[in-house]
């Protein structure tokens, strides 16, 4: 499958009320999510999230954490007090307004838009290609923008600003997570061994750039990654504390015997489309090499860092890209050399397996990976059209040299923050994009289409289309279910969708076209 793989990106957006840093972030986030939902569903009852198959405490290393010993933030399957595994029809109406943690919408594009901790979170639908990952990730930016506009236009609601970033620069961090389905039979030890050096080094093109060093920006300066300083351990289940480079959450939202969901929490929220494409595409390629055992016999497979957490921080703190990280075998390499090794392994792998028959998505990722590494190797700033941290650095260096600013100047921190503002009239990335100073991969109408429409080649198609066609009859849904409340049936009808590659347009498109009502669909599905 090379770069084609079931993938999703989830982003917790930063949220703020200008002039009121003490505003309640959970209420604000609920307001944002609900404003969008009300605008799109006209205020009628909305489907709820189905928590039936969630298992946030299951660990990929082969055990399950005891509930009593888990941190409350880990219990993502039980938000709020009145949670039920599967909702009754009577729970559906109006429940969201009582408990902000229940602000939770399933969109017709197959995404989930909800309040996670103290942030509005957009979890993209499952996609199959890196380009589609970019498309539905960017659709999320438009959804947050629309939400912000709706809030601003509603009398009585507090206007907010929203940022696609990962830290407030004062010690708080919030995540952008990638999810990759992979073969269950791949040993988790191999995942840890091969992905750790890859994740430590991939920041050179996935980093979003950050003003300030240290979790609370104690030292002035500029670093590559928003997230790196918040990682403290190599492997672990937590996502809100002692954050690990390799997260072990084993909650596949799919047939567990067949799939493992690799939950990647070490990435930054990227706005540059090329950076997002590479983040997902290169990781998918490394996973393909892992699953096939290819890395075991390639030089990249022998790269083991002697202190991965320290290396993660060191690489992030070195925008010159010259610092050497220490390997267990005594060698010292730059992050770029580590990436080169993975690239070369991937080129050899694709040539060996596919030769001239390589698919366009895989070829694109390989070409761009090579180009971006080449640019970073010759002149860091030459990657300013593709890579967030470089584009941001270019802007910051412009200010520094024009106005003679030190790295501790608040204007530089303001540029950093405003870089990720989702409003085109304010967001500095969006300003650069409008001026043609960053490379775009997608036409804007493609992205707009993805706001309301699901991908056609995963089960997200079934979920999104059911919501679009039979919305009022959908009582609840999740990644792996759609639950109908239809006339003539006493109980809610749960349709499991545990296989992510079923429920595609090819698979169910004709069926959906044939069924005008949810009643007809349920009848057809239950025979």
């Amino acid at each position: 499958m090379t770069v084609r793989r079931v993938v999703g990106i989830e982003t917790e957006y930063g949220i703020s009320v200008p002039g009121d840093p003490g505003a309640n972030p959970m209420l604000l986030s609920a307001q944002v999510v609900n404003a969008y939902a009300t605008a799109t569903t006209g205020g009628r009852a909305r489907p709820r999230w189905d928590y039936e198959d969630e298992a946030p405490l299951r660990d990929a290393r082969g055990f399950e954490v005891e509930r009593a010993k888990a941190h409350p933030s880990q219990l993502t399957d039980a938000p709020g007090r009145s949670r039920r595994a599967a909702p009754n029809a009577s729970d559906v109406a109006g429940a969201e307004t009582e408990d902000p943690t229940m602000a939770n919408v399933i969109l017709t594009n197959g995404a989930r838009f909800y309040v996670d901790h103290a942030h509005p979170e957009y979890s993209s639908p499952e996609v199959l290609t890196p380009r589609d990952a970019v498309r539905w990730d960017r659709a999320g930016e438009l959804i947050l923008l629309e939400s912000l506009r709706r809030v601003a236009a509603t009398p009585g609601l507090t206007p907010v600003t929203i940022y696609k970033n990962n830290t407030d620069g004062k010690g708080a961090s919030y995540g952008t997570h990638e999810n990759y389905l992979m073969d269950r039979s791949t040993a988790f030890g191999d995942v840890v061994r091969h992905l750790t050096p890859f994740f430590v080094s991939r920041q050179v093109f996935t980093g979003a750039g950050r003003v300030g060093l240290g979790q609370d920006s104690r030292e002035p300066g500029y670093q590559i990654s928003q997230r790196a300083d918040f990682f403290e351990v190599e492997v672990g289940l937590e996502t809100t504390m002692k954050r690990p480079i390799i997260n072990t959450r084993d909650e596949p939202h799919a047939t567990a015997e067949k799939y493992r969901r690799l939950h990647v929490i070490v990435g930054d929220a990227t706005m540059c489309e090329v950076a997002t494409l590479l983040k997902v595409g290169t990781t998918s390629l490394v996973l393909s090499m892992l699953e096939s055992g290819w890395l075991d016999s390639s030089p990249a497979g022998r790269l083991q860092l002697s202190d991965p957490v320290r290396a993660l921080h060191e690489v992030s703190h070195d925008p010159g890209l010259k610092r050497l990280v220490r390997l267990r075998d005594g060698r010292q390499l730059t992050a770029l050399s580590v990436q080169r090794a993975y690239l070369e392994a991937a080129q050899a792998f694709v040539a060996d397996r596919y030769g001239a028959d390589v698919d366009a998505d895989t070829a694109e990722v390989l070409t761009r990976w090579e180009q971006v590494l080449g640019k970073l190797e010759t002149d860091v700033l030459s990657a300013a059209r593709e890579v967030d941290w470089v584009a941001k650095l270019r802007l910051l260096e412009g200010y520094r040299s024009r106005d003679g600013l030190g790295w501790d100047n608040a204007r530089l921190a303001a540029v950093d923050l405003q870089w990720s503002d989702v409003r085109p009239e304010k967001g500095l990335y969006l300003k650069l994009a409008e001026r043609g100073q960053v490379e775009r991969l997608l036409a804007e109408e493609d992205v707009r289409h993805a706001v309301d429409h699901p991908p056609t080649d995963t089960r997200a198609y079934f979920r999104g289309e059911c919501l679009a066609r039979y919305g009022p009859r959908v009582a609840a849904a999740s990644w792996d279910s759609v639950i109908f409340d239809v006339a003539g049936r006493g109980a809610l009808q749960r349709v499991p969708t545990l296989e992510p590659l079923r429920g595609t347009r090819e698979h169910v498109g004709a069926l959906l076209d044939r069924c005008e009502t949810a009643e007809e669909l349920v009848a057809a599905l239950t025979g």
């Binding site: 917790e12 949220i15 703020s16 200008p18 009121d20 840093p21 003490g22 972030p25 901790h117 103290a118 942030h119 940022y163 830290t167 407030d168 620069g169 708080a172 961090s173 919030y174 995540g175 997570h177 060093l213 002035p220 300066g221 500029y222 670093q223 996502t239 809100t240 929490i265 703190h317 925008p319 010159g320 010259k322 860091v380 030459s382 270019r394 802007l395 260096e397 412009g398 040299s401 024009r402 106005d403 003679g404 600013l405 030190g406 790295w407 501790d408 100047n409 608040a410 204007r411 921190a413 303001a414 540029v415 923050l417 405003q418 009239e425 304010k426 500095l428 300003k431 650069l432 001026r435």
Partner: protein, 65 residues
């Protein structure tokens, strides 16, 4: 922008030490495309929040995942 006074410190105030976080190579390269960057900065200036200090201080988040 009307009503928004840019608070740009003048050069004489800057006795700030260069931190080594960014390589000399990056600085050198920036000066080559000064005209480009200046035009860009002028546009960004117009949308940058006017009181940076307050803007940055007011951005406080609760942690997340």
């Amino acid at each position: 922008m009307p009503g928004q006074e840019q608070q740009r410190p003048s050069r004489r105030e800057d006795e700030v030490e260069e931190t080594p976080a960014v390589p000399a190579q990056a600085n050198a390269k920036t000066s080559e495309s000064d005209a480009d960057v200046d035009a860009l900065l002028d546009e960004i200036d117009e949308v940058l929040e006017s009181n940076s200090e307050e803007f940055v201080r007011g951005f406080v988040q609760k942690g997340g995942q």
